[in-house]
Assembly symmetry: C2
Homo-oligomer: 320 residues x 2
């Protein structure tokens, strides 16, 4: 299967790009520039992609509305990335300076606000149900960020980690999948099932992201490795490794250090490599991907359904 | 006339408070706490007040919808205050530590995002026209902030100053006034006139705010005096004073200094006091207030219209 997960929606994804470009026009060129910079930085377009595929796989035909909502989800995602990088003082994002680094804190903060506003302006074309789903997803993002700040530097238990990634990654994708099915006039059961697909794909995606922070090829993610460890964010592979009877105690000690040296990071990498945590985390991601696939059972076969299936495979197997 | 401008809408303003309290509930108590902290810090509630009065003065009777929109405007206003204080590194706001100072940058940034989201979620109950007006107002705020950053430290010309205060203060109040009339099913001309009222009241209000930054009683604004001068923000009274043939050259030199000492600020205060800039700025604010009053001409007399009239007076005469 050489096709990409998004090969059946190339045209629609292009329309999403155009919708975004239209939405981010501003009297102040710098605002448009900040938005362009972040949006064109090579994101995978998974959020709009899932929304579009959910719509089309459920028999939707008129793409105008779903393109708008898909664009709004990508814009919200980009806005949160801009604000996240401010909060984490992240200097790199996708191989380039972060917006915060490139444009400065003030401009980046307002740029993120501007993107949020423009995304919600798109909401004006839709009913209460849809705006509610988008707003709930944004609320989940904000709430999970708060949990993440509070747990920084702590070896948080697994359920806290799962709650964080559900809020920041899985629930927004779930909302997009649900809205796609809703706009296609699918029934409540199908809308629910598509939500399950989105939720589980999102969990799998984020776990793999957290694995790649540890073992990705340096540079292929466009940022340094071991950022989560450095920042004291207890991701699944880190939590599991710190529970390892042999290396756990030493690794935990390094994790808790407020100022970690390069030598600390290198030692931590080596300790993690002595455990099977990456493999176990990938197995867990696979479990989510399988649940995502199971949720598609009732959906009639089509090129778009195949796209959703391929996405579930890609999400777990990707190494970038 | 001993009545306050908002005495005819006490009940409705109370309903706005309740709507805001409902909207900012969160699974994460800290988010609710940040929002409560900012919203309960003694703002004048001018934005919701103008929206409510515009609705009621134009014959609106069912207050449920207008209360929701009024709440959304206050929430957006509070969100921008939180983010502004981060951008300006302001430590005080209304006599208390700013949210940024009290809760830290990360929590305040996300708290502001959360408030934006909750305000826009309210938009889901309204049509495209209303969401568009709210979103345009938010866009104007973001764009004027960008202009403000770009001009920081420069003696910006008057038209730039007017554009900044129109975007950050007057256009949001204009949008609220327009929406109030729209919800009351006023005709296009009346909606336009109420917008003119809001726009002009907003201009007057901000000019007086900028005057009070110079001559307010220390502490009565809940923040130090001469903050704009210190931060290099060229407000109307500062621009005019720097054009004064006698004190202008010295004042401009002090204004352009990147690091200003207390002695610089004291000297600048004394120089400004030698000019008539405050009186001239107040005259200009009065001009806007008069235009606001003129826009009310066609509105039938009522307690609510009297409230709008009293607001126009209060805005110019206030000393806090």
């Amino acid at each position: 299967m050489s096709e990409c997960w998004d090969s059946s929606i190339k045209d629609e994804l292009q329309m999403v790009e155009e919708e975004i470009r239209r939405s981010i026009r501003s009297e102040q060129p710098i605002l448009t520039e900040i938005c362009e910079y972040v949006i064109s930085s090579g994101g995978k377009r998974m959020r709009p992609g899932v929304t579009l595929l959910s719509y089309l796989a459920n028999g939707g035909r008129e793409t105008d509305d779903v393109v708008k909502i898909a664009a709004a989800f990508e814009m919200i995602h980009s806005a949160t990335l801009i604000h996240d990088d401010i909060n984490d003082r992240s200097e790199m994002r996708r191989g380039r300076p972060s917006a915060y680094k490139k444009f400065g804190l003030q401009q980046a903060l307002v740029g993120g606000d501007f993107l949020f506003v423009k995304a919600f302006a798109i909401g004006g074309f839709f009913d209460e149900e849809i705006v509610g789903l988008v707003a709930d997803a944004c609320t989940a993002i904000a709430e999970s960020e708060i949990v993440q700040f509070e747990k920084e530097g702590q070896i948080a238990p697994l359920d806290v980690y799962l709650r964080i990634i559900e809020g920041k990654t899985a629930r927004p994708i779930m909302a997009g999948a649900r809205i796609g099915a809703y706009l296609a006039k699918a029934g409540p059961d199908r809308i629910h099932a598509m939500g399950e697909y989105g939720l589980n794909i999102g969990m799998a995606f984020q776990i793999v992201d957290d694995i790649l922070d540890i073992i990705g090829k340096q540079g292929s993610l466009g940022k340094p490795l071991m950022v989560d460890f450095h920042e004291g964010k207890a991701t699944l592979p880190l939590i599991q490794a710190m529970e390892d009877p042999k290396v756990g105690p030493r690794l935990s000690k390094l994790f808790r250090k407020k100022r970690k040296t390069n030598a600390d990071i290198e030692e931590a990498s080596a300790l993690i490599a002595m455990t099977d945590t990456v493999e176990r985390a990938r197995q867990r991601a696979k479990g989510y991907a399988e649940r995502a696939l199971a949720a598609l059972e009732g959906v009639q076969d089509s090129g778009h359904k195949q796209g959703l299936i391929r996405l579930a495979t890609m999400v777990v197997e990707r190494d970038y």
